[in-house]
Symmetry: C2
Subunit: 492 residues, 2 copies
């Protein structure tokens, strides 16, 4: 034990007890502490490490219960010989002489599709250290009701639930979650759906990927918005050579840009991504009439379904869908948290059945424990409380942002829809700037803004910026925009 260096980190996010346990377990499994070896007394260990006696005692007791240590009357703690049983790492399969040439093989020639080469939104890893993070789509730690969420996770882990969520469930999603989506979430968007018209997915991303896999062949004519969601472009262009781009005006997707041969339209009508404009009810009806006339289907991505705080929301396209042509994508990423990866799709039961089969091949199903925790979060009313709080905060930030932009960046054209969690700014040719340079300079001043280029499919896109306000504290908005205004004046 003398040579076992234990270094506990008091600034770490782990408790000293967890750290000590980890170190001892590793030492035992890797053979640094041999079978039968005596451990230092809890008193000695505590003195040596400068930790409380109680911590050492609890760790030794826990390891004894779990079979790592054994205790021999009052003579102390010893490494349990039984730990070296079958299957432990020191009983591991030994690598033998490797077969095959060392040079390895050329994977580049073998990989048939290269998603790695696609352009994508990149976020700086350390944005949380910045003072003015106008970042999009990340949660605000201060707003998230961690206590309520924990309560639901605890409830979901009761022993009585083990049967429900620990096993494979391929044919049905968590019935509690489906019930909440049907009765609580969808009515707000005007949507009525039966159980077999809903499928739970790993975020709306998975729903979009599955729609493309099932409905798009090599020559299927697909229409996307430009500017629009880069990953939709990436997903559909991996499948088909025939992608058309429709422009976006103050009412969203321009219907004149949808050619007659179209088979599928992907749109973000409620908060057009990235411009945030809302498609008015008249254009929604016209889009559906056109879908009927030209026989295409519509994928409605309602990725911000809970951020409609500026007046009465326009109902979802899906709520107007008498012909069953709309595939509705919803997500919990913007309300709960994106790391949870939970969303859902509402579509005709025929398509949902095929999507369920495809989901089985792809991932089997979304993790059951997260489905159940989320179901509780909804059914116990925590979700609604949280959405109300988000609305109040977002509405305030939205106001402050609007005023601050008018003051500090008066040249930019700013579009508005029914709320959301970001602003989109477009600059005139006269005010053109070099996006990457601006972003770099801003970061040096502790400001994060997202350049707009990535959202455009067409070359020679206008200079644009996207400013999210889901993570930035309200009080930081005004000073952050002042810095941005100065930088733009210099760069423009």
């Amino acid at each position: 034990m003398q040579e076992l260096l234990i270094d506990l980190d008091r600034t770490a996010n782990k408790s000293l007890q967890s750290q000590l346990r980890e170190v001892l377990v590793s030492a035992i499994l890797q053979g640094h502490l041999g079978p039968g070896e005596k451990l230092p007394s809890t008193r000695r260990l505590s003195t040596q490490l400068g930790i409380s006696r109680n911590t050492s005692v609890l760790v030794y007791q826990g390891l004894t219960e779990d079979g790592y240590l054994r205790t021999n009357q009052r003579s102390g703690y010893f490494v349990n010989e039984a730990i070296c049983e079958i299957g432990m790492p020191n009983h591991s399969a030994q690598p033998l002489a490797p077969v095959g040439s060392v040079e390895g093989l050329n994977w580049g020639d073998r990989i048939k599709r290269k998603p790695g080469a696609q352009a994508n939104i990149r976020k700086p890893r350390d944005w949380q250290k910045l003072k003015y993070p106008f970042i999009y789509g990340q949660p605000d730690r201060a707003l998230f009701p961690i206590t309520d969420w924990r309560d639901c996770v605890y409830k979901a882990m009761g022993k009585q639930w083990l049967d429900d969520w620990s096993q494979d469930t391929l044919d049905n999603d968590d019935p509690l979650l489906i019930e909440q989506i049907r009765n609580r979430i969808l009515p707000r968007r005007g949507i009525l759906a039966s159980e077999d018209e809903i499928l739970v997915t790993l975020g709306s991303q998975q729903a979009l990927y599955m729609v493309a896999s099932l409905l798009v062949g090599e020559r299927t004519a697909v229409v996307l918005e430009d500017p629009g969601y880069p990953d939709a472009r990436n997903i559909f262009s991996l499948r088909t050579e025939t992608v058309h781009y429709a422009g976006v005006d103050a009412g969203g997707l321009k219907l004149d840009d949808v050619p007659a041969e179209t088979e599928l339209v992907y749109t973000t009508p409620s908060h057009q991504l990235p411009t945030t404009v809302t498609m008015p009810i008249e254009r929604r009806k016209a889009l559906l009439a056109q879908a009927e006339a030209d026989d295409f289907v519509v994928v409605e991505d309602d990725y911000e379904l809970e951020t409609n705080f500026t007046g009465k929301p326009v109902p979802a396209l899906k709520s107007l869908d008498g012909g069953g042509r709309v595939i509705y994508l919803g997500s919990f990423s913007k309300t709960l948290f994106p790391g949870l990866r939970l969303g859902f799709v509402v579509a005709s039961r025929e398509l949902i059945a095929e999507m369920r089969a495809l989901r089985r091949l792809m991932v089997r199903h979304p993790p059951n424990n997260n489905q159940r925790s989320t179901a509780f979060f909804l059914s116990l009313g925590y979700y609604d409380v949280f959405v109300r709080r988000l609305h109040r905060t977002y509405e305030q930030r939205w106001q402050v942002m609007g005023e601050g932009l008018a003051r500090h960046v008066p040249h930019a054209k700013v579009t508005r829809g029914m709320g959301g969690s970001s602003y989109w700014m477009q600059f005139d040719d006269a005010d053109r700037f070099d996006g990457p340079t601006l972003v770099q300079r801003a970061q040096r001043e502790s400001v994060y803004v997202e350049p707009g280029d990535i959202y455009f499919a067409r070359p020679h896109a206008p200079s644009c910026l996207r400013l999210g306000f889901s993570s930035i504290p309200t009080a930081s908005i005004e000073p952050g925009l002042a810095i941005l205004g100065q930088l733009l004046a210099k760069t423009g």
Copy 2:
């Protein structure tokens, strides 16, 4: 409040407090309790429902804290008018006149790929009610260390972790989990890998799907085992027309059945699925030499990487892979629980980079909270304790199964590998039986067995059965096999 029927279910898996809260939240959100309406006193409510006063008080207090109720000095509790604010369901988007023809459209013509039509393993939903569930791949409630798991989930949900796991992480998996996979799991299989050669997936299913998406084009020659994993057949045959099947003998995949033009071989060398035979080291080396000579890659599905309990395990193919041709798939489904959906893949960094990009398009990433909980479960040593317990139990069951089968089903040919969690039985032509009829009859006697047909690609497959022992209590094995033996004697 008079008309509000509250019906609490004392036998339900939810606490009375949770149930009461749910009922009240729903009543408020759906307008059955109007804004400003007075609620019955906690005393009256408790008497009416036959619950403790304390329960009512706690529910009212919780709802007041969350803004559903307000309390007016000592005059009681009222529905908070502010609850009817923006975004609540009673402020919902109203469905308008739907657009489009009522008949709907014919999805059958539009769906380009129909995974729903593929044959698949089906498990009865209510298998837990059967006395003798010889089911495969489901966890044993009695063995799972729910307390340890909960401890890890709690630790992962500490406020300090919120930054780490609540947000999107596209470029890197949880570093704690990667560290544990590298240092704790892979060495047991003889595998050394660097961080950028490992990707976390939603079970090995997702890894397999991604490998097929990236490496298999319409004419790529793929070799699968027959009998083999039905979902591998389903995944690859959605991609390519050129699937060859290789037979399986006592040493696993028959190398003579792998044609020279092969580009990819999918194999389950350590516990051949479903026969359970283990490929010996010599054949592993020969397979790799053949891969080198004929220039193909090998997908090694080590789906039961922790159930090697009969003597010293044969190292993974990947550990012998000098040429970087092996793509190794591992899973936590058979040790933790399948509902968690967590696995990993080890491959050359070039391929891992493309898989990461594809994973982003498919699902963005596996849920962060589950990655972190699992990392703790590993690092705190709970996982190793649990694997040891599984080994002891499985080894015992494996023995009892082996003896019971020899006694009660002596005609069946039974194959053996290095452990696993199932037996595979093949019957002679003379003992042929009708699978579905047998399974039905068995279920009537509270016995669940899986017919073997689904594992065969070739028509006219021999009569086979698969008997799992991960869920059946050890004491139930012998009587269960006795019933099965009698049924087979009658049916055969």
